[in-house]
Symmetry: C2
Subunit: 342 residues, 2 copies
Amino acid sequence: MAKAVTIALDAMGGDHGPGVVVPAALQALERHDRLRVALVGDADTLRGEMTRSGHGEHPRVFVVHASQTIGMDESPSQALRLKKDSSMRVAVNMVKDGDADAAVSAGNTGALMATARYVLKTLPGIDRPAICTTMPSIGGFSRMLDLGANVDCSAEHLFQFGVMGAVLAEALDGVDRPRVGLLNIGEEEIKGNDQVKQAAQILNESRLNYVGYVEGDDIFKGTADIIVCDGFVGNVALKTSEGVAHIIAHYMSEEFRRNPLTKLAGLVALPVLRRFRQRIDPRQFNGASLLGLRGIVLKSHGSADTTAFAHAVETAMMEVDAAVPALIDERLDQLLSERQES
Amino acid sequence: MAKAVTIALDAMGGDHGPGVVVPAALQALERHDRLRVALVGDADTLRGEMTRSGHGEHPRVFVVHASQTIGMDESPSQALRLKKDSSMRVAVNMVKDGDADAAVSAGNTGALMATARYVLKTLPGIDRPAICTTMPSIGGFSRMLDLGANVDCSAEHLFQFGVMGAVLAEALDGVDRPRVGLLNIGEEEIKGNDQVKQAAQILNESRLNYVGYVEGDDIFKGTADIIVCDGFVGNVALKTSEGVAHIIAHYMSEEFRRNPLTKLAGLVALPVLRRFRQRIDPRQFNGASLLGLRGIVLKSHGSADTTAFAHAVETAMMEVDAAVPALIDERLDQLLSERQES
């Protein structure tokens, strides 16, 4: 049996706070006997939430008090400076101190990245941590990074993202030699901007399985296992995807509600539509990895529900089992020394 | 009645060439008595296509011979240098010479932009032309630019895109004081990159109806009438949208084909699904405007079918009626002189 894992949860973060984090923790605990959970936040609130969930005490849950919370709109630097006893900060501190194997937060992304970077530090050879998420694709899924931690990226940063993404795909998805694609556009004579062109050269000369440029629609085609881009582009692509999925669902719902006849058709088609919805359910992809740090931190979507947050906790467990930070360190070291030799 | 309009069609461009362009032209001609069409390309082929369509002669169609065609993968500079008698070049030349009011091509985007820019030149005060397309949104649609003509944009370029987009929304959509949004991400402390931040300031100080930063999902929410971004980001957002729509359609079709029961449900739901498909049909948005030039040029999607290409021709007619380049010139002049006065 795999070894015990302790995950520290920022129980106050996200749109729903303890109301989602506590039941999500209980859901994950029920599924995994080897999981222990630290609920970090206002102790009274958390104990109240445990009681409400019918678990006044749980042998694998311990509450860690933190007196502050970080607002969703608070600036990262302010959070870092003024909220040293925030639930987010205390959860990340636990990872640093070895009291937890990983931290999960649905709080403010900028604050989480700044906190994780400040507390845990980056791995040697990694200039900037990146945020990596899973995107559905025909035949499976791909992983995309960065998603907003870094708006301007050099070629070397993009290369490092490629390394980190490849390690994640190998470790979590069991992909052998994951295909790394560089997000670009097809319209310019000599494609893309300077950083992307230089990154292509570095990736091409490395021993990563670099498959070349990919375009926005390739994210969903399964052309690559890893999609590398700067944080500005990645964030726009991610939000755009969410927007398209939302408007399509909106239109479909409107059409089925148009009149009694279409409602009847909707009723007949309901089981199919439900299966379809399950397949595009973003909850199954919840849990973005903050990569490049000396520790494991996952970001849950702010609006995640219990199922979604529990999925993020399980992804954190997988990263712990695989020791992702050590793997990234090792792989980067290897690739950089190969580069020097050649 | 509105005045006669002559549109030059690059009849050899796109994935389907004359097989789509000729019937699309005939479709538009049937709808609009005041439309005249120049079919530009290999004269024999085009006359053959006219005959095949049952119109050996059409009083409002004239064929203009061009001996060359530009491949979809040809480099813009090569096309410009070596293909001086291409169907695309000759069509754009007709606009410059006043023989046509606008040109429409489904050919190579990069080559079309380079040709249009070289032949027609940009308007005074416009540094770079941009490509602008329509995106569906809840309650209507928005227009987004740039979509790939310019990978790196200064703040001033982004401001110019805002002006051009606003003019288009006023002229074609009849929107009073169109809301201009600047595409950005929500994750960074002080949002976005330097260019975007500076562009926000310029837009804010102008008399455009600037509504602030928007994110990827806002494109489809109707938060703004005009979405301004650099060509790299815009192209990724556009292609990503296409990719999401495609994978959703793919999943849905798979679910309805799963077994006889789901097929039956699909049959019952067919009229609803058909209406739904019509609403997200990209053909109704076909025809991207090349803005900032001293003439009207539209880019049709390379894979456009007859309906889609005819739509691009009709959009070109609307731009001719509104005299879009003159309006952009006028508005930019006005905004820049206001800026100097203040």
